[in-house]
């Protein structure tokens, strides 16, 4: 099977061609404002290096920073409103609390609270009131919201009411597009509804992006399905991106970590991805990134959808160095101008790359490395900064390798925080490789009531089977399915024996034999 992986980043667009487990070729090309040009160049370059025709490709996997950038720049966001099903609880803390004002203004954010929601044991706080819900939706519609997010209290325990509300709106108010909090976030009402609002605000952009890539597919000559990569390193069909764009939000660091694990053949490791301006550090366990346990702040908004636990620091190949006391490396960076402005490229700015060449860690550039005052101390500082980031990312003192990827990974020495550093082949294309190898997932979360007829093992087996069916319906190969995560949490303080079970399975993409 031949797969093309594409990673559209802020600075570069990377593309790789893989045949099963074999890396056939890759290309790095600067990202362009129109996106197409950069992607097309990278894809055509990668295909040429791999000696593969576009029509031989079986699947295209794409990771993009479009959505996170739109949010950070507060551009191209849709107007949206939120309906929270919570009354009589909930009025002491309204939606959009703690949002930056300019972001609320950018999406014209507005809300209504209505009856509904659940207690922690799944009993209703109040039943859904159809009339009240429709009235709230109409008022939001009049204020210009075509996108509405719906949240309800303890939707993580029971999501029926959110689904019921969506069905009602789809039937009675077909012009309104609905995003549900239970599809996106976890425990923590404020953070979960924040994620649902962000999702709603990105939907029209998602349509543009998906259509653009579908068009590009035609112009390059692909004759195969197009997938996007999700935050958790699995694939999502283009049609699902239209519904849940926020799930592809943080795929950049995920793809780079997955790619690093794949290229090095090491499934449990720390990954250090050093770019021009920043360094991302994360941990892979069994080839997948460790996810953040608590809330994650995106574009100054607290959310809690599943995102890789990544520590970003302001250190990269282009980081500016202050060689006088107090010494400093970064966070200011020459970024993509490294190739003009660093000493080793004939420029006049002292950068981290100059230091790396001068202390013998890297051989690059068109000019000799400059004489650096305090080079020894700067080397120590550089190692200290990276060691700190690695130490903060570790979850135990278990010895594991550090996989270094990205263009700036030459900054690293042979060891970090006492751990061995490995630099796999094609490490500067790890993101696109991570996209190309992404798998299909299926996840099901349910609260079950255990009884004599239904014990814990049987319940887990049933839900795993349901998750398998979801994955298969999304295109997973039935023979390759395995469990990625399982959690079962007893709901305490309840008569009876209730268990909240959540299962995620992953499998390889199944392809019809063709050509």
């Amino acid at each position: 099977m031949i797969r093309v992986g594409i990673d559209v980043g802020g600075t570069n667009t990377d593309a790789v061609v893989m045949k099963n487990d074999e890396f056939l070729g890759g290309e790095k090309s600067p990202s362009t404002p129109d996106v197409y040009t950069g992607v097309e160049l990278a894809v055509r370059g990668a295909l040429a290096r791999a000696s593969i025709n576009a029509n031989q490709v079986d699947a295209v996997m794409l990771g993009t920073t479009h959505f996170v950038n739109a949010l950070v720049e507060r551009k191209r966001l849709a107007n949206c409103g939120l309906i929270r099903m919570c009354l009589p609880s909930g009025s002491s803390l309204f939606p959009f609390a703690d949002w930056p004002n300019e972001l609320v203004e950018a999406i014209n954010g507005t809300f209504h609270l209505v009856n509904g929601g659940y207690e922690m044991d799944g009993t209703e706080i109040a039943p859904l009131n159809e009339e009240q819900l429709l009235k709230a939706a109409d008022e939001l519609f009049e204020k210009g919201c075509r996108q509405i997010a719906i949240s309800s209290v303890f939707a993580t325990v029971r999501n029926d009411m959110e689904h019921e509300a969506k069905k009602l709106l789809q039937k009675k108010r077909p012009k309104i597009d609905v995003s549900l909090s239970c599809d996106i976030g976890r425990m923590g009402l404020l953070e979960r509804e924040n994620a649902a609002i962000i999702n709603a605000s990105l939907k029209p952009l998602a349509k543009e992006v998906v259509e653009a890539f579908q068009k590009l597919q035609g112009s390059v000559g692909f004759d195969c399905p197009l997938f996007f990569t999700r935050n958790d390193g699995t694939l999502i069909d283009a049609s699902e991106v239209l519904r849940l764009p926020v799930l592809t939000f943080a795929c950049g660091p995920t793809n780079s970590m997955r790619g690093a694990a794949y290229l090095s053949g090491i499934k449990d490791a720390l990954v250090v991805d050093i770019g021009g301006t920043t360094t991302d550090v994360g941990e892979v366990i069994n080839g997948f990134p460790r996810l953040a346990g608590t809330s994650v702040t995106v574009a100054d908004v607290r959310t809690n959808f599943s995102m890789p636990d990544v520590l970003s620091i302001g250190l990269g190949g282009g980081s500016r160095i202050r060689p006088e006391q107090p010494l400093a490396i970064g966070p200011e960076s020459v970024g993509h101008e490294l190739l003009q402005r660093a000493y080793i490229f004939g420029g006049d700015v002292l950068t981290a790359s100059d230091l790396a060449v001068s202390i013998g860690r890297a051989k690059m550039g068109t000019h000799a490395a400059p004489e650096i005052e305090n080079a020894d101390e700067l080397k120590q500082l550089l190692d200290q900064i990276i060691s700190d980031a690695v130490a903060r990312t570790r979850t135990s003192d278990k010895q594991m390798p550090v996989i270094a990827v990205g263009g700036g990974s030459v900054l690293l020495g042979a060891q970090v925080d006492g751990l061995e550093v490995i630099r796999p082949p094609h490490h500067d294309l790890a993101n696109a490789v991570g996209a190309a190898i992404a798998q299909i997932s299926g996840e099901v979360s349910k609260v079950v009531s255990l009884s004599e007829e239904l014990d814990r093992e049987t319940a887990i087996a049933q839900i795993t089977q349901e998750a398998n069916e979801v994955a298969i319906s999304r295109g997973a190969d039935i023979t390759s399915l395995s469990m990625l995560s399982l959690s079962d949490v007893p709901l305490s303080y309840l008569p009876g024996n209730n268990l909240a079970i959540s299962v995620t399975v992953v499998g390889d993409l199944k392809m019809e034999q063709r050509k």
């Binding site: 919570c86 002491s92 404020l190 303080y493």
Partner: protein, 356 residues
Amino acid sequence: MNNPAITKIDFKALKYIADGGAILGSGGGGDPYVGRLMAQQALGSNNTVAVIDIDELPDDALILPIAMMGAPTVMLEKFSSGEEIPKLISMMERFLGKKVAAILCIEAGGLNSTIPFIAAAQMQLPIVDGDAMGRAFPELQMVTFTLGGIQATPMAMMDEKGNGATFDTISNSWAEKLARALTIEMGGAAMVSLYPVTAAQCRNYLIRGSLTKAHRIGQIMAEHGANACAALVEEFDGTHLFQGRVRDVNRVSEGGFARGTVKLEGLGDFINREITLSFQNEFLIAREGDNVLATTPDLITLLDIFSGDAVTTELVKYGLPVNVLGLPCDPIWQSPQALEIVGPRYFKLDYDYKPI
């Protein structure tokens, strides 16, 4: 402390108090984030809450402490309706046959450092500059009022649906037991008012100035960021107990409490040294081998080396570099009688209290 007492609280002051409250939480008391946002909403952007000294009130003035009781996860999902507090207060007033004059914080640390501001803002009542712990403690009876034989009841509880209850119990442990059971029926969290006191009772046992102190700590954190630890040591006669990286965290959940130990490996001036912290919701003791650096009731707080923010016992994780700050407790906790309810031996630690 030579800082002028705060006299009113606005948005900015609330943020300082929440950040300072996280330091005074001594690692426990829950995340004040949701509580701060609720207090902000109750306050509105242009209003303020008046802060008064206890001596401004006549002897017979009634003061009501307000707090949240129950499971923190419920408080993150099901927010209160906003109507609990007025109902709670009118229940207490009926029960006691007296009008309330001011609101009080029961604990200056954690989530409950912000909840009373919701009450003060909604009821247009002043809030007394002080609290009954000077920090956070894990159990209901660990308040200065216990030293004066003051009962936790009459106590009132209210849920978001409008259900209320009052308690009149024979002991504080019965109050804890019955209130806990009802909290569960109310969906896992409820608003409570307990330890109603008169200004005269309060004068003898109040830890005075703790809101001013929390506010000042928050201010110092905002000014000094990563260097907050040193500035706090200077201003509050504290001790920089240690600087190190977390190299082990061992947690056990026991009897409804989060217990465990944290091992730190020295950094900077503390290199090649190692200390161990023990906690039960809050940090209880810091030891280097058998040498005690600090124990409860003094405050032991961790600050993230890079951000200067307080690190709660739930957020301590492997690899995190921290400063360990020791702050002296209020002198009221240093008597033998007080140490019996909050000293190291109460927590089954076989060490004597050694003031820092």
